[in-house]
């Protein structure tokens, strides 16, 4: 039932608004609203009950194992609630700096930590998610070229395995996107790369480890090639969880990287967001960082704004990005500390490799069996699809019935019938073993009674939904009783 269906005219959660209607007679009548919007008219209990019940229809980290590849769904330490302390939650974004030293000190330190973790020269925290970080990074590269009068570079290279945000972000910066193919081992096809680079090359966007769950071994060579033709390298940090404390994008030769704080730094993703996508840059891109930055003058923290950053690509949000998310990432880093951060990559990788090995033994097909898994790995269901008529999606849906959130399916696009599995370091060996048992059970079912997979899920609030109808008979707002 929709909240609107609980609605009755003249009902309201009366304690929540001013008790008396105030005077607005100074506003000209022609600017006033005549017919009120049809919002729900419900009591406080109805609201609480509705949204409590609704929440129970979600899978989440707190309720289910959620090995959604590329999304790093690990435990979100509940200490993140410290970001709600009144000093933080009630602070107006335009408060005077002298009432902002608390948060500014956290942000300043976060800039420092992130630049150390990535091996970069400087950090801007303002991008509000990975995709905005990508925009910012590519825009910085663009500004860099422009600043040198280097205006003929119109192409950005993106491997075919890349996340959709990569080409979209490059395009938003006005670049033409060139796709680079992947070789059978999951690495960038270097010959193909050589064939396309040249004076038009503004740069390349890479994820390393890539979205294929393998580490790009020839990264240094790629960096040399790109730099050789005057291009710059962009690092999509979505997979940073695989390498924190083990290797640094800065050392690999990257010029700019974004980090998804909601992934590696475990800020809660809230069913779609918020995230944060700070970028870190090499020395040469420093002048182009988006504002605001936090700088330290003597003992005081100050904002660095556009007027003092003439080459900056500018502002990306009305205020300071997703400041609250930044605070949560700061808390996370302080909780884990140096030793704890290094362990992240170690145990994320341990879980992934253990799981890949066990699944391979159980008859599943890793996409790159000869490779070490990073923090995630891909299974391909191409053979099951051919032989049993069971797709990766069928498998995924049946997993939901087993109380496990399905891994990412059909991404990256280039592996047919793929499933991208990322257990994360906060899940236990028991959970890995349970996962394997579930997969075995479903595989058995796929052979014995495939209809169970086609019909899945059967234990959830709804069964498989008609996505085609959702597009054809577009129904995106409720109108019935309104």
């Amino acid at each position: 039932m929709l909240i609107f269906e609980h609605s009755t005219p003249d009902r309201r959660a009366f304690a929540q608004a001013p008790q008396h209607s105030a005077d607005t007679s100074d506003i000209p009548d022609n600017l006033l609203r005549k017919v009120p919007p049809m919002l729900p008219e419900v009591s406080e209990l109805q609201v609480v009950r509705h949204y409590t019940r609704l929440s129970r229809k979600n899978f989440s980290i707190d309720t289910h194992f959620y090995p959604l590849g590329s999304c790093t769904m690990k435990y979100n330490p509940r200490a993140h609630r410290l970001a709600w302390l009144p000093g933080f939650a009630d602070r107006h974004p335009l408060a005077l700096p002298r009432f902002s030293q608390g948060i500014m000190s956290c942000l300043f330190e976060l800039q420092e930590y992130l630049s150390k973790i990535t091996g970069m020269a400087a950090v801007s925290l303002s991008p509000m998610a990975g995709a905005q970080g990508e925009f910012a990074g590519v825009a910085a590269i663009r500004a860099y070229h422009a600043s040198r009068g280097d205006t003929e570079r119109t192409e950005f290279l993106v491997p075919d395995a890349a996340h959709g945000t990569n080409p979209a972000s490059a395009a938003m910066c006005g670049y033409t996107v060139k796709e680079i193919p992947t070789n059978a081992e999951g690495d960038v096809d270097i010959e193909a790369l050589k064939a396309v680079i040249g004076p038009k090359t503004a740069g390349i966007m890479l994820t390393n480890p890539s979205t294929l769950g393998v580490f790009e071994r020839r990264i240094k060579e790629i960096a040399q090639l790109i730099h050789g033709v005057g291009g710059l390298l962009y690092y999509d940090g979505a997979n940073l969880n695989a390498i924190v404390g083990k290797t640094r994008p800065g050392d690999m030769g990257f010029d700019v990287i974004h980090m998804n704080l909601h992934k590696t730094f475990s800020t809660p993703h809230g069913g779609g967001g918020p995230g944060a996508g700070p970028i870190a840059v090499s020395e040469r891109l420093k002048p182009f960082l988006p504002v605001p930055l936090v700088i330290k003058k003597g003992e005081a923290y100050e904002w660095l704004l556009s007027k003092d950053a003439s080459q900056s690509i500018g502002r990306l949000s009305a205020f300071m990005g997703n400041a609250g998310v930044l605070l949560r990432a700061y808390i996370y880093i302080r909780l884990l500390g140096r030793e704890g951060l290094i362990r992240v990559a170690e145990y994320a990788t341990l879980n992934a490799n253990y799981l890949m090995k066990a699944l391979e033994k159980s008859g599943f097909k890793p996409a790159f069996p000869a490779r070490r898994a990073t923090h995630e790995f891909i299974l391909s269901f191409q053979s099951t699809a051919k032989e049993l008529g069971i797709t990766a999606m069928d498998f995924a849906k049946r997993m939901l019935d087993e109380g496990i959130h399905a891994p990412t399916v059909y991404f990256p696009l280039l592996v047919p019938e793929c499933m991208l599995i990322e257990p994360t370091e906060t899940e236990s060996k028991e959970q890995m073993d349970i996962f394997v048992q579930v997969m075995q059970r479903i595989l058995e079912e796929a052979k014995q009674s495939p209809e169970k997979l086609h019909e899945a899920p059967v234990t959830l609030p709804v069964r498989r939904l008609d996505d085609v109808k959702a597009v054809k008979q577009l129904d995106v707002v409720y109108n019935d009783s309104l």
Binding site: A13, S21, L82, G87, D90, L482
Partner: protein, 452 residues
């Protein structure tokens, strides 16, 4: 090991199963010259107790008394229930609803949100959120340019009385695509868009006009006239609005004869804490005909194989993960949790509740304005009607006045001089429903002391 459940013996068992002897061996595909073994400069691990003490001491530095700053972020009462509900793990720790059947909670909620935003703005459809108000305006501009097939200019009229940070953001985001932003000056007497400046553009190829209602000065524009002017010239109209105002003011869907094409704005006033500027959420609504050019996620209602209604992400062919470099936007992660807060907020308050919040905030600002302008040396900057925010002109440097007010525990507003030097010593103030009569008087008394 904090947050890692592996015991020593489990780790050994797992390494053995993989066939390696040491956990570091798992990184053997990383070339040796790229390997590091430490993270110097990152402080040692702290227990939750220590982090709590640390954060409490930092937060305590930022407690700053009564807040009369608005300027795009507004202190409103946030019902207690919101915090408890959005803290539920099922909302807080879910990812984007890629597996619809396992995400009906979030999906239905977004569908309800879309409906509420469409109602509030007077438009047909809404998306599931963008990052914030400023970036939402940039997305609206991209959208308008895609939509306005009659225009080839990629030229946008962006009045100077739109929030200066929005204008900065728009500039950063749209410039790489060679979009032309044309400033429209405001009338120095009223603070409103200067109609003559628009008329001077007569006959030129223009893709869209942006209108902020109220504008950055809190001043109300003559929206009907502006929309009629633009529409008559095939110029698309983008409205930037404060959602709280929409329960009281005429919604953009009704401006002029036809309403505007796209509405966007900052969702923060709907139940989201000030929190230093984010996470907030940008909203975007438009006419039905434009839905396929709308960026961001959209949830649709459909049925399952048994015919039971259910919700799913829809129109995904617009999005980057399918359309890649041809997508309507690069946005992926958005601001779902804040939408959750706003949806609960709108449910709790309803139309009448939000109208009261708007009216009460307005009344408080008017009262404050009257109290302050009664002081010698404090004048009203603009003559026009306002909504819940206004500009005062002082005969003293605003920065110093604000510092002095701060000493009395009052955050007196925003100093406009860095943004609009032409306005002289201008101060933007706002008093929402959270302020009492005593608060307003405290401000006025402190101001009196400074100006006497």
């Amino acid at each position: 090991m904090p947050f890692i459940p592996h015991t020593k013996s489990e780790t050994e068992e797992m390494l053995a199963a993989i066939g390696v002897s040491d956990i570091n061996q798992l990184f053997d595909e990383i070339p040796d010259n790229l390997r590091i073994n430490d993270l110097p400069g990152i402080p040692e691990t702290l227990s939750e107790l220590d982090v709590t003490r640390l954060m409490k001491s930092r937060a305590a530095q930022d407690e700053a008394g009564l807040c009369f700053i608005g300027a795009g972020a507004y202190e409103h009462h946030i019902p207690s229930a919101i915090f408890d509900l959005i803290s539920r793990g099922e909302y807080l720790t879910a990812y984007t609803p890629y597996q619809a059947e396992a995400s009906q909670g979030t999906l239905q909620l977004i569908y309800e949100y879309q409906t509420m935003m469409a109602q509030l703005t007077g438009m047909d459809v809404s998306n599931a959120s963008l990052y914030d108000g400023a970036s939402a305006l940039a997305e609206a501009i991209f959208m308008a340019i895609r939509l306005n097939k009659k225009s080839t200019s990629k030229r946008i009229l962006l009045p100077a009385n739109v929030h200066p940070h929005y204008r900065e953001t728009v500039k950063s985001l749209v410039e790489p695509q060679d979009i032309l932003l044309t400033d429209i000056p405001f009338d120095p007497a009223t603070g409103r868009i200067q109609i003559e400046a628009l008329q001077a553009l007569e006959g030129q190829d223009i893709s869209a006009l942006v209108i902020s209602q109220p504008n950055f000065f809190g001043v109300l524009e003559d929206v009907d006239a502006l929309v009629s002017w633009a529409k008559a010239r095939d110029i698309l109209v983008i409205a930037v609005v404060n959602p709280t105002s929409l329960a009281l003011l005429k919604p953009p869907g009704e401006w002029g004869e036809t309403g505007v094409d796209i509405v966007c704005g900052e969702g923060q006033p709907l139940g989201v804490p000030l929190a230093s500027g984010g996470p907030y959420f940008g909203f975007l609504a438009c006419k039905q005909a434009h839905v396929r050019q709308m960026p961001g996620r959209i949830v649709g209602r459909t049925t399952d194989v048994d015919g039971k209604p259910g919700f799913t992400l829809t129109l995904q062919a617009r999005e980057q993960h399918i359309r890649r470099s041809k997508a309507t936007s690069n946005i992926c992660t958005n601001q779902g949790l804040l939408v959750t807060a706003a949806t609960i907020y709108m449910s709790l308050l309803g139309a009448e509740g939000i109208r009261r919040v708007a009216a009460s905030s307005h009344e408080h600002t008017v009262t404050l304005r009257n109290l302050l302008t009664a002081i010698d040396g404090v004048d009203l900057a603009f003559s026009q009607p306002i909504f819940h925010e206004c500009v005062l002109r002082l005969n003293q440097p605003v920065k110093e006045v604000l510092e002095k007010l701060a000493e009395q525990g009052i955050q007196g507003g925003l100093d406009l001089s860095p943004y609009y030097p032409e306005l002289g010593q201008a101060l933007l103030v706002c008093a929402t429903e959270t302020k009492t009569k005593e608060d307003l008087e405290a401000y006025s008394k402190a101001m009196q002391a400074i100006f006497k």
